[in-house]
């Protein structure tokens, strides 16, 4: 499933990269050592010249090793099936680099996180504010620097009460804060919507309220083969893709050959995860639209998939299968039969149900034309996954950078051009069917090889990039192996990281009543839409609006 122009593109890519520094091939990635001042130019060439996609930025404190800070930008170049990692070494006294955000707006968050966590300054960044750290966090303390012990308790004074409140806008429009948290659902996020009547004119976002510092924990006190289990707990729905991504990064760094059967088992579990995640989302989307009958129906279909995962791996959600070098659980013969039977039913029921749902006019009209994201905006903010594919961007890590067994299986990547919520719904629906077909193919062609290759040595300070297509989009992990069977630097980047900024574009010009489904349409976490506080700017009074009122559009400012 590779593009026919792979070879040409690759030569072009290597020629381009070697203009800026020495190029080294590491698994599926090119590592190029560049000068910091060349970064915007390299970024420009890769993103706009070659048609690549910016993935993320990573900062690392290498002072104990060679006395510098390292700044990595990761790009995906699909036409070459390669990732590109640019590495710039920065002096320890005043680490700074020119920002690439003016060239690629999608790099905004990535660079701000590096600034917060490692303390690298970005010159020319259009929004040099904190992203991850709270506003009352003391200046000059950067948690991911190596001289910051992981168990240090910092006494922080005051409360983090500064929000992204824009006063001029607040004077002119009503402010509708959504979030930051609700006791019943998972993740806190805070959206601030500025509304003129019923129409949203501007939106702001603040997140990272549950930053758990798992990178620090993994780097400080976990061993190489313990990290997959914390990686699996990054996400409450698609954790397996994270542990897979981490293991692939380490395998790529240490050049570990993974047995064929392990690759197939990984593929099967990854796709089972995608099926249940998409069915979950489709149900939740209908729930947000007030159509709970459909919600229950999708979740009824989803339940046998969860049971199947439980039977294959021992748990409904945390499969615990991945370790560096392979997988721990085999798929038994009798399970193959059972899985095929369940998947056949999932496909039939999903098709029948979706046809029924799409015949209900109220459901379709609440999704059609709502939450529009243009192809150009999607490209500029570097969205990934179904959100990108619903806006006409034909990218999918499974096809562009074949990993696990995807290179040997046959599947289609659904792409739509409408860019609205309905398109995102349909892309996910088609993906469920493709995933069912992928699992079927993999189950029928399971190679008979060992499950795990444990014959490897942990060489310190090797860099590896792992990438998987999570249900929500491209998942990228960068690993630098460390001394004593540890990781020196591990940076996971979940797909929602690139997708959440897109909601702000989608919300502009939308009706307030559509805000929940728009925010939900990228499949982020969800608690934020549950209830909101309306501040009447003129009187200064406030009142709570329930989720139900907001969802049904019954609220009038």
């Amino acid at each position: 499933m590779q593009h026919s122009w792979v070879t040409n593109g690759c030569r072009e890519l290597v020629d381009l990269l070697s203009r800026y520094g020495s190029v080294e091939e590491v698994g599926n990635a090119y590592l190029v050592k560049v000068r910091a001042e060349d970064l915007p130019e390299v970024a420009n060439e890769l993103q706009w010249g070659l048609g690549g996609y910016y993935s993320t930025s990573v900062g690392a404190d290498f002072r104990p090793i060679d006395g510098t800070y390292k700044l990595y930008h990761i790009f995906s170049v699909p036409q070459c099936s390669r990732y590109v990692v640019t590495q710039a070494s920065l002096p320890p006294s005043l680490p700074k680099a020119p920002s690439i955000t003016p060239v690629i707006p999608g790099a905004n968050w990535g660079e701000r996180e590096v600034r917060d966590m490692v303390g690298i300054e970005f010159e020319g960044h259009p929004e040099p504010k904190r992203l991850v750290l709270p506003h009352n966090w003391p200046e000059g303390i950067h948690p991911l620097r190596k001289d910051f012990p992981y168990d240090r308790k910092l006494i922080i004074e005051g409360v983090d009460d500064e929000v992204e409140h824009v006063d001029e806008l607040a004077r002119k429009y009503q402010v509708v804060p959504i979030g930051p948290y609700h006791p019943a659902l998972h993740e806190p996020e805070y959206f601030e919507l500025y509304v003129d009547g019923e129409v949203v004119v501007e939106a702001r976002y603040k997140g990272f309220m549950v930053h758990r510092g798992i990178e620090k924990v993994a780097e400080s006190r976990m061993t190489l083969n313990q990290v997959p289990f914390i990686a699996e707990r990054i996400c409450g729905i698609c954790g397996f893709t994270h542990s897979c991504c981490y293991c692939q990064a380490v395998e790529s760094a240490l050049r570990i050959e993974v047995p064929e059967r392990a690759k197939y088992v990984r593929t099967i579990l990854l796709e089972i995860e995608r099926i249940h995640s998409h069915l979950l989302w489709m149900g939740v989307a209908l729930h947000v639209l007030g159509f709970d009958t459909g919600f229950m129906a999708y979740w009824r279909i989803r339940e046998p998939v969860m049971r199947l995962a439980e039977e294959l791996t021992g748990n409904r959600k945390t499969y615990g299968a991945n370790v560096v070098g392979g997988v721990r659980w085999d798929i038994r013969e009798d399970h193959v039969e059972k899985a095929l039977r369940i998947l056949r039913r999932v496909r039939e029921e999903c098709v029948a149900l979706t046809e029924k749902v799409l015949k209900i006019k109220e459901v379709v009209s609440r999704m059609k034309g709502v939450g529009y994201l243009s192809r150009e905006d999607a490209r500029r903010i570097c969205v990934v996954g179904p959100t990108a594919r619903a806006s006409g961007l034909d990218i999918d890590v499974r096809r562009d950078h074949p990993y696990a067994a995807y290179g040997e299986l046959d599947f289609r990547v659904p792409v739509r051009d409408e860019g609205d919520v309905l398109a995102r719904f349909l892309v996910r629906y088609e993906e469920v069917l493709e995933s069912v077909s992928i699992v079927e193919q993999a189950l029928q062609n399971l190679p008979k090889t060992p499950l795990i290759n444990e014959d490897y040595e942990v060489v310190p300070l090797r860099i590896g990039v792992g990438a998987t297509e999570a249900p929500r989009g491209e998942d990228v992990h960068l690993v630098v192996t460390g001394l004593g069977n540890k990781v020196y630097r591990w940076r996971p980047r979940a797909p929602s990281y690139n997708n959440i900024p897109a909601t702000l574009y989608m919300l502009k010009g939308a009706y307030l009543a559509d805000a929940p489904i728009i925010i939900a349409s990228i499949d982020p976490c969800f608690s934020c839409t549950d209830h909101c506080l309306v501040i009447d700017v003129r009187s200064g009074s406030s009142r709570f609006v329930s989720f139900r009122e907001l969802v049904r559009g019954g609220y009038r400012g």
């Binding site: 313990q226 707990r233 009824r300 439980e310 748990n315 721990r328 029924k356 209900i360």
Partner: protein, 167 residues
Amino acid sequence: MGRLGFIKDYLRYGVVTEKYPYEPVPTPETFRGKPVIDSSKCLGCGACVNACPANALSIEDDLRGGIRWVRLFIGRCIYCGRCADACPVGAIELSREFELSALESKDLIQEVGLRMVKCVICGKPFTTYRLVREVMRELSPDERVLTLVCPECRAKLTAVNTSFARW
């Protein structure tokens, strides 16, 4: 027609929710639930402690009492089963039990106490009887005596022996 289709579905599939907790929920045989340590097999070697990603397992030596405690705190356990992978004698298995809430945190602790061996030179307890027995099986009779010497004393002995050898 769309809505009627849903009613037809409901009639067809009936009730799909379960009466849990009023009825038990079946678990598959592969299910990974509460780990159980078989105290008759455990050697106290600590392989599980090294493997555990969540630090749910720990080892503590009570030197005065001469007992090594292997402790499993279910409150930290993530049911990954790495302990079962690591155990050289198969003393840990993951059961199918998953209803683990308790009123007090001490009820979430499983402990195995193992008698320790005293070093024949310094008299300090340093490892468990079972581990020594297991190691002795692998060794020739004249090597066995060294298994009863603690690592520190063994290092001193080796230093003395090698310095004599150099003379």
